[in-house]
């Protein structure tokens, strides 16, 4: 059994990256042995649909659960479709999150916890002024 955690650096001491689709690294870890593998997230810079593309890249890795900060509706749909449990609101160090998961302190979500594009940053400049939106 393996779980996957979004991370800011490729090691177990790193802080969890709160974003799913645009996280910097994925850490795939076996909670029993603490053996892990770090993968760079190639979807981090996708123009759009980063969450779907990131989810697609991990669906065939035999993963039981995803531990992350936030997960939007599109990614959630793909992950749950692939039978991966999604656990959001996880913060702190990667290794502590793995421990918490092992001891049963983390519960899976039954729905996405943020809207689409939540983690794609500002700078879209969508303001229209005049109170139209």
């Amino acid at each position: 059994m393996k779980i996957i955690i979004t991370s800011t650096a490729p090691n177990l001491d790193a802080e969890i990256d709160p974003r799913f689709g645009r996280c910097q690294y994925f850490i795939i870890v076996d909670p029993d042995t603490m053996q892990f593998e770090a993968l760079e997230n190639s979807s981090a810079t996708a123009g759009g649909g980063a969450g779907i593309s990131a989810a697609q890249s991990i669906v065939d890795k035999g993963i039981e659960a995803l531990l992350t900060g936030n997960c939007g509706p599109n990614a959630y749909q793909v992950l749950s479709g692939a039978g991966i449990k999604v656990i959001t609101g996880v913060t702190g160090k990667v290794k502590d999150a793995v421990e918490n998961y092992k001891s049963g302190k983390l519960k899976a979500d039954s729905q996405p916890n943020v809207r689409a594009h939540f983690g794609s940053g500002g700078g879209m400049g969508g303001g229209r002024g005049m109170g139209q939106r």
Partner: protein, 288 residues
Amino acid sequence: MIISVASGKGGTGKTLVATSLAVSLKDKCSLQLVDCDVEEPNDHLFLKPVIDKKEPVAIPVPKIDETKCTFCGKCAEVCAYNAIAVLPKNVLVLPNLCHGCGACSYLCPEKAITEEDMIIGVVESGHAGNIDFIQGRLNTGEAMPVPVIRKVKEKVSPDKTVIIDISPGTSCPVVESVKGSDFCLLVTEPTPFGLNDLTLAVETVRKLGILCGVVINRAGDNQGKMEAYCREQNIPVLMTIPLDTEIARLYSRGITLAEGMPRWQEKFESLFRHIKELVDERSSSLKR
């Protein structure tokens, strides 16, 4: 001649300028007003057109025959917009992200993908007096205005004087709407946001090789920086509209500036003459 009205920043007065320009010119030439701000078309509120034709706009989205699909993942791999995810036992299509490019169905090795039309909006055409009126409307919740804008622009008659009202910003919908114009009027306001977004809009329009000029709206005594920028960039300031509550009052009641304050008609006519001179000057210099 096609004149587009854009801005960069939202809420600067594109609709105010586009509708008043149209109303001021309607008896002088054969005129078409085209509202390409398909996420929020507003010109109709001022022109009150009679709409006599509505045509739906659809994009082709993939439909997967899972009896033929081998879950090879090729479609997800070739989708530039990540609109398809291939799971071990099923395929998820996210139609809201689909641009309708057709790559997935073209490249599917099993020919398991067909395309079906998904309606995303409508093109409405009609007339407001002697103004030929066209507008696009993107359905609520749809994410992609460009296919609707393309359909709207198929209705443009370049032999008429065409005024295109454009959405704010400088992204794909704006590029699609401005493309092919003879002149782009950039409406701005003398605020730091106004100037910042005007700079972006000027870069975009110049990259498209389109002549531009500026209208400063809600002007007071604070447009020094704006004017300095325009001088420096050699962009003509073609009109200045003052910050005036009477203008705002008319606007809020759906009355164009040209109708509510008829003295503005002459100003919009002269704005048009000025634009025409700039366009003629350029085309004669290109011929040389």
